[in-house]
């Protein structure tokens, strides 16, 4: 059976809008954020995301796991970017060195070193802000959209019946997958399996994950077959479909959509004018002696 996300009706900004309006706004927000690399512009988007987060009525306890996992992931990759400078090469042509750290030892004649430049530093900070804003806005969706409305929301956004329902199922498939994973993990632990103790080379390690990966995958496949049968047996897809729930826009929804579109148009205009590109504060450059 498909599990749903931990949605609860709450008094919050996000839930006071029609889900379609929110998805449109979310799309505009996403596209707009991706147009910028300038930390000053990105701060605006981050602020927006934080406002939505703090008015969402979701308690820290409820999203702690998700936030820590995704937050940790983003921090880790931003740090990696900081170390390597990868991905930023297209944005800046020259680097101003703040400091160069050299290891006091050699490995096979190679001396590990780390070049800290103003550009690398700013790039990783900008990336952190960008990805974090998007992540926050995305995490909020499953907590705030009523699962009973998934299908009709996508239908209302203009997707065909079948695809809208498929999207509905897909949204619910993710938490279901999580539940199956936990059950499998439990079943294997009861057979003395310990994930923490997996050792050996990469290939051996991957092979030792089979007790988890195989049942979860098979379950997902068998589960989808059941769902297809259940849908077929109740005449799904024979023609146009009625959606029992009817969504109606309120004035505030039009306002939100308008705001979203305006945000996107302005963002596109800015980026066409060349504003909002990668920015390194003058102070930092001065520090580098430029």
């Amino acid at each position: 059976m498909l599990v749903t996300w931990r949605y609860r009706p709450r008094k919050s900004i996000i839930q006071s809008f029609d889900p379609r309006a929110w998805i449109i706004f979310f799309g505009c927000y996403l596209a707009s954020t991706l147009l910028f690399w300038d930390l000053r512009y990105l701060s605006f988007f981050l602020l927006l995301a934080l406002i939505v987060l703090f008015t969402s009525g979701i308690r820290w306890k409820e999203i702690r796991k998700a936030m820590l996992f995704i937050g940790g992931f983003i921090l880790f990759f931003s740090f990696l970017t900081f170390l390597t400078g990868r991905g930023g090469m297209e944005l800046y042509a020259e680097e101003h060195v703040l400091r160069e750290l050299k290891a006091s030892f050699h490995i096979l004649g190679w001396q590990p070193s780390l070049l800290i430049s103003a550009e690398k530093t700013m790039f990783s900070i900008s990336m952190l802000a960008r990805v974090f804003s998007i992540a926050v806005m995305t995490i909020l969706i499953p907590y705030s959209l009523n699962p009973a409305l998934y299908g009709v929301t996508f239908r209302g956004l203009g997707l065909p019946d079948k695809i809208a329902y498929a999207m509905d199922l897909t949204m619910r498939f993710i938490p279901t997958f999580g539940r199956d994973f936990t059950l499998t993990m439990d079943a294997q632990r009861a057979r003395g399996y310990e994930l923490e103790k997996i050792s050996g080379g990469l290939a051996a390690q991957v092979r030792k994950l089979a007790p988890l990966v195989v049942p979860v995958t098979i379950h997902a496949i068998a589960g989808s077959e059941d769902i297809i049968d259940a849908m077929d047996l109740r005449a799904f897809g024979i023609g146009p479909r009625t959606w029992l729930i009817k969504l109606t826009y309120k004035p505030r929804d039009y306002f939100l959509i308008g705001f979203g579109i305006l945000l996107l148009v302005i963002s596109i205009a800015f980026s066409l004018w060349g504003w909002g590109k990668f920015w390194v504060p003058a102070g930092l450059l001065a520090l580098a002696g430029a």
């Binding site: 306890k61 059950l183 009861a190 109740r234």
Partner: protein
């Protein structure tokens, strides 16, 4: 013949991937207002028959089909699934696998939405279906949070709302507690009385007999072995293979040789300190969410020599309770000691050396390429010596009757066989305590009786505990019964002590079976609960079997 709502003539079917026929020349009819019970062991072709009638064959499952199916005189061959689904409604075995909607109202409306009816029409039909099944109060609930019995009713409502002429039920009782099963059955009877044609495939023949199906069929190897009035079914089937009401078994078993006696004493328990505590629950409280109580202060000891049956309604907390015994869940308050060690302090893998736990669903654990490798996985993790593993694996395969399947991939086996592999996988670990969550679900009667026998005869177990909805398993195998409800142990004692209070059982959603009643009636002579086959050979009974037969069949 014309008034039959369902008529099947000479139906044969072979799946494209198989060499042999799944169904052979099946012919029968079912009339409006009647219940047809279809009994048979797993693999007998029941599910294939259902798929032929509801159109999944040949629309979703390909193969060669011969013969014809008519619903109200109209052939259904060549019709789309959607057309068939408006005439034939299907309720699958597990409501979990059928329910698509997140809320009850969405679930019941799903088929109607697909038929593109108007919103008003849909709403009125949803209300009608829910009212008919007495579950209108569930309308706005989330399907995920319903109990097993409620889910089954909602699944039936979703089919009923499409107003089918024929209702197919594929083992609808499999996941329900006895009271929910009875409620579902009563509901099905009412639907038939209102004019629907009902085909019910079910292992639990005894339960279905309570709603007096007009006709019955016994399928075996894809062929009809019996088809006629229900009373005739008893003579047509082997009571070792299909579970019949106890008085009927008594009557038949008298003529058979005396069965091998059952043991309710564990071999390993005879040595060592008697009644030594192996697992101890001290004031265990638990909830999955904050402010939720699933276990409300459990105090319990599992002692050497115990064969415990844990009974209780759906959602009582039985699985949550036993998951604490292996440390998969840790108490929010109180503690659980396994062999004197607190589960807070040891890993699940460490507990697994002492306590083997068989999960409810085999599909969550099977992964290996062969049955043999699957069985060796646990003991290898526990670092048993290879030669011992080989011996234990062989022994486990023998106990669950999977000889000849050693090199087959477990995932390609039938559900019943997979379940047995999952039990064998734990048996091969040679733990001292065995815990099983619904070991008999989805199993044939003969199969599960045999492996329960074999497990209890194994020399290694100091205590065995199983969760079950089948009171008869408690009657036959347990030497201690624990009744769980509302997160508490409400009764704990010998089967005779706990099960004699029929009114209390019913309060806890357990329905006394004919075997229990017969045993209680004869208790003065037997002084212990026994199988029907054993009771048949008590001298005191020989001249009374007629009376039993009459009293139960009325």
């Amino acid at each position: 013949m014309t008034d039959s709502s369902l008529r099947i003539e000479n139906l044969s079917f072979r799946y494209r991937s198989r060499a042999d026929l799944a169904l052979r020349s099946i012919s029968f009819e079912a009339a409006a207002g009647q219940v047809l019970l279809i009994a048979g062991a797993s693999g007998c072709g029941k599910t294939t028959l259902i798929r032929c009638i509801n159109g999944l064959i040949p629309n979703s499952y390909k193969g060669e089909i011969q013969g014809g199916i008519w619903v109200q005189g109209k052939p259904i061959q060549g019709l789309s699934l959607a057309r068939i689904s408006q005439m034939v409604g299907t309720v699958l075995q597990d409501p979990e696998r059928q329910i698509l909607g997140t809320r009850v109202i969405n679930e019941v409306a799903f088929g109607l939405e697909n038929l593109h009816l108007s919103r008003e029409e849909i709403l009125s039909r949803v209300d009608e279906a829910l009212t008919r099944l007495n579950i209108l109060h569930l309308k706005d609930r989330e399907t995920f949070h319903l109990s097993g019995g409620e889910k089954q009713k909602v699944a039936i409502a979703g089919v009923l709302a499409m107003r089918p002429l024929v209702l197919l039920l594929d083992e609808p009782l499999a996941s329900l507690d006895p009271a929910s099963a009875q409620e579902t059955l009563q509901m099905v009877r009412r639907l038939a009385d209102d004019g629907m044609t009902v085909l019910m495939v079910e292992h639990r023949v005894e339960d279905v007999l309570n709603i007096h199906p007009e006709t019955a069929m016994f399928l075996d190897e894809g062929e009809i072995r019996y088809y006629g009035p229900t009373a005739g079914l008893y003579r047509a089937v082997d009571y070792h293979r299909i579970k019949l009401p106890a008085p009927l078994i008594l009557e038949r078993a008298v003529k058979d040789p005396v069965p091998e006696p059952l043991t309710r004493q564990l071999e390993a328990a005879k040595a060592g300190i008697p009644n030594q505590t192996l697992v101890r629950f001290e004031g265990v409280r638990f909830g999955y969410e904050e402010n939720q109580t699933v276990l409300a202060g459990i105090n319990l000891e599992i002692r050497r020599g115990d064969i415990i049956a844990v009974l209780g309604p759906n959602g009582a907390g039985k699985t949550t309770l036993v998951k604490h015994a292996i440390g998969l869940l840790k108490p929010k308050a109180g503690r659980v000691l396994v062999d004197g060690r607190d589960t807070h302090q040891i890993s699940v893998a460490e507990v697994a050396h002492t306590l083997g736990y068989v999960f409810q669903s085999p599909s969550h654990m099977l992964f290996a390429e062969t049955v043999r490798a699957e069985l060796a996985f646990g003991p290898t993790n526990l670092k048993h010596p290879p030669e011992e593993i080989e011996k234990d694996v062989r022994e486990a395969i023998r106990i669950v009757h999977l000889e000849g399947f050693e090199e087959n991939p477990p995932l390609a086996l039938s559900f019943g066989q997979q379940k047995r592999v999952s039990i064998a996988a734990i048996l091969a670990m040679r733990s001292r305590i065995l815990v099983m969550d619904e070991p008999t679900a989805g199993q044939d009667y003969k199969n599960y009786m045999e492996f329960m026998d074999a497990i209890l005869k194994l020399p290694g177990f100091e205590a065995v505990l199983f969760i079950t909805h089948d009171i008869d398993l408690a009657v036959i195998y347990a030497n201690r019964v624990i009744l769980v409800n509302h997160g508490q142990v409400v009764r704990d004692g010998t089967p005779e002590e706990v099960l004699k209070d029929l009114a209390y059982l019913e309060e806890n959603r357990l329905v006394p079976t004919s075997l229990l009643k017969t045993n209680l009636e004869l208790y003065a002579h037997t002084r212990s609960f026994q199988r029907a086959e054993d009771l048949a050979h008590l001298g005191v009974l020989q001249n009374r079997s007629d009376r039993y037969q009459n009293s139960t069949l009325q």
